[in-house]
Symmetry: C2
Subunit: 426 residues, 2 copies
Amino acid sequence: METDILIVGAGILGMSSAYYLKKRDPTLKVVLIDKLNGPAQGNSGKSEGAYRNLFTGEANYLLADSTIDWFHNFQEKMGYDIKLSQQGYIWLFSEEQYSRNKISIEVMTKRGAETQLYSGKEIKEYIPDLEIDFTENEESEILGLENIDIGVYGVKCGSLDADALVRAYEAEFLRLGGEIHYNTIATKLLHEPVEPLGIPDEPFVWQESRIAGVNTPKGRILAETTVVATGTWAAELFDPIGYDCFMRPKKRQLFAFKDHRLNRLLKVEGLNESNILPLIILPKAGIYLKGEKTEESIWLGCADELGRKFECEDNPQPEDEYYSNNIYHVLVQYLPCFDNVRPENAWAGQYDINSFDKTPVVEEGPGFIYIGASSGSGIMKCDALARIVEALYNEEEYANLYGNRKFKVSDISIKNRKIEKETLII
Amino acid sequence: METDILIVGAGILGMSSAYYLKKRDPTLKVVLIDKLNGPAQGNSGKSEGAYRNLFTGEANYLLADSTIDWFHNFQEKMGYDIKLSQQGYIWLFSEEQYSRNKISIEVMTKRGAETQLYSGKEIKEYIPDLEIDFTENEESEILGLENIDIGVYGVKCGSLDADALVRAYEAEFLRLGGEIHYNTIATKLLHEPVEPLGIPDEPFVWQESRIAGVNTPKGRILAETTVVATGTWAAELFDPIGYDCFMRPKKRQLFAFKDHRLNRLLKVEGLNESNILPLIILPKAGIYLKGEKTEESIWLGCADELGRKFECEDNPQPEDEYYSNNIYHVLVQYLPCFDNVRPENAWAGQYDINSFDKTPVVEEGPGFIYIGASSGSGIMKCDALARIVEALYNEEEYANLYGNRKFKVSDISIKNRKIEKETLII
């Protein structure tokens, strides 16, 4: 098969890129392939589906903030039910943590992120189940718990259905005449000479070379441009040609709870319009949880860093003991309502982490564009990133993000990267 | 075993770090281990042993320039015969290439790198075997050869014996009472809680944790600080704990020639004091070669980028066809004296490449220091990097490089990295 553009990966970044590339010039043949049997079957569909514009880096803020605006457009104007729920984020801090992060929070606010400050007591009024004071508590001391003195509430943050989001882009892409082949794995990037001489073992070191498409078990797909959007599987394609995709894969687990003992926690009144638990980030151990409106459940995750290996798995699994031996001990201190509550469901996805600046990468090489290293925020930055791919393909210096906001395309490349490091990391 | 400092890796970066750490405080117990049976048995000993201060980045320049000064001290004052030969580098350019790189070259010169410009004709007077004009040459056109219009000669550049260099540091380290255990592989970094509770499966996500040493087949080695200097094998230790070592391994091959047909090429008169072929970099295909004085041979390598896979091998092998099918066709055009000449010897080592800024990394994490990602220039920057390790261990803001030059330690970390990208890459 031959095509103008081949996109590899039907996750959020591949699908949104496919949409904007096709939309820009519907006369182009744009083909998307994925090894799995539908959209968002890799890590996108396993995402927590939380979004925020709380980023300290200018690029991260712009990518996320404009993408959130697009989410509203997608749901409210274009009519896709992506279960958008602007239920807020609350970042919980001890006094000491807050003062350490104060500058970062001020930077965010200056960028435009609307935040509200709450005292620990105010938060406890909204969320009575939350313990905020651990002075003179022996177990808490062993656990090294931090008091909750301050909560930073992000207004333009919330939750959506990641799967529905990918399907919405898919529907738009197909409506424009885009072509999708599921169950079609790209086994290899075709590294070929720009001017083939027909000699075996080309390209040689003295030949100009490019990525000319991919191999699949059903045959080669030749493309003028190959967009690699395979997320944590990017290294499987790029390592064999020696291109550094600047990410390492790491598993993250989610646990879902549906239990009458959590009803009061789930239904937080007055903080947001939906009267549901916002995404709250505990001040210890990277534990975060959010109310999931449509399912009336609570989803919980944990940002484990040192100690959690880098590994790319086709089917990552949640670990039972990870909740019960690890998270639970801290969780039940902050939220005693979890006492003896077990998750009803659990699953695992993977982050493609750029450890350097925790910001995604969009870069072109000969014959290809790489979009990835989304570091766990691919969903919430997807629309902006896909528009950057569109601009890059069309050789434009600036991408036009939703809401007519400009983003300098080369800033997010590896080669000419100009990205501030994120200083506030979950 | 317990020790104050454990260094993993008896390559150039491990051995030089061991020396400076022990030298700084000889009362500390400093133990170095390596999986192989002697110093420099991994990639260091397979290095080309070329050195240069021709770097455009400020950090790279300072690291290399001060290390070169140290080489002279090592050989001329301390009496180690590291076969130092200041025979120069010549970077060969076409007119067009030169004008594209002119700013980079000016930047280098401004930093202090002493360079001399030669015209193609002047170079041909020194190296009569070199073809410099390929106009109206059909085969050259197919090969896309560039004329040689300009040569940038770097004065403070040359060649040394990498193996002897590592052994020199080893001798000094041992003289100070350092301890080395060869044939001792670190199979695992010990990731442990700072305050162990004695519960299985520690550390938990809520525990502060650190690297407490390594496992070896002969037992655990506990260390206050573990210095990981395993080069291309760094990911094998760091990936399991989820720390990004910021490098990908890539094979590089060297071919050695000893043939009477190359005698005139080998003995270049007047360019340097040794009257030997400097390291010359051809304007095409990343091919470089140098005269090797002690062996009266010519060593040749090729900087293959796209197409050469990332992979870490225990015993990387040179590929016969890589010379004959790949390099040879270009080489014999520039240097017809290679006609039908076959390498007498060939070997392969590996680069630990930081694709982002082609500059090494020295960074600390809890309980450990990582030195690596040397991107093919570990030998020529070793002394400065080891002094940065010493400063980092001693919690100093600035390292004191040889010649009383200061280097801000945090600049070369990943976390607070302040490194200019290298713009002139071989």
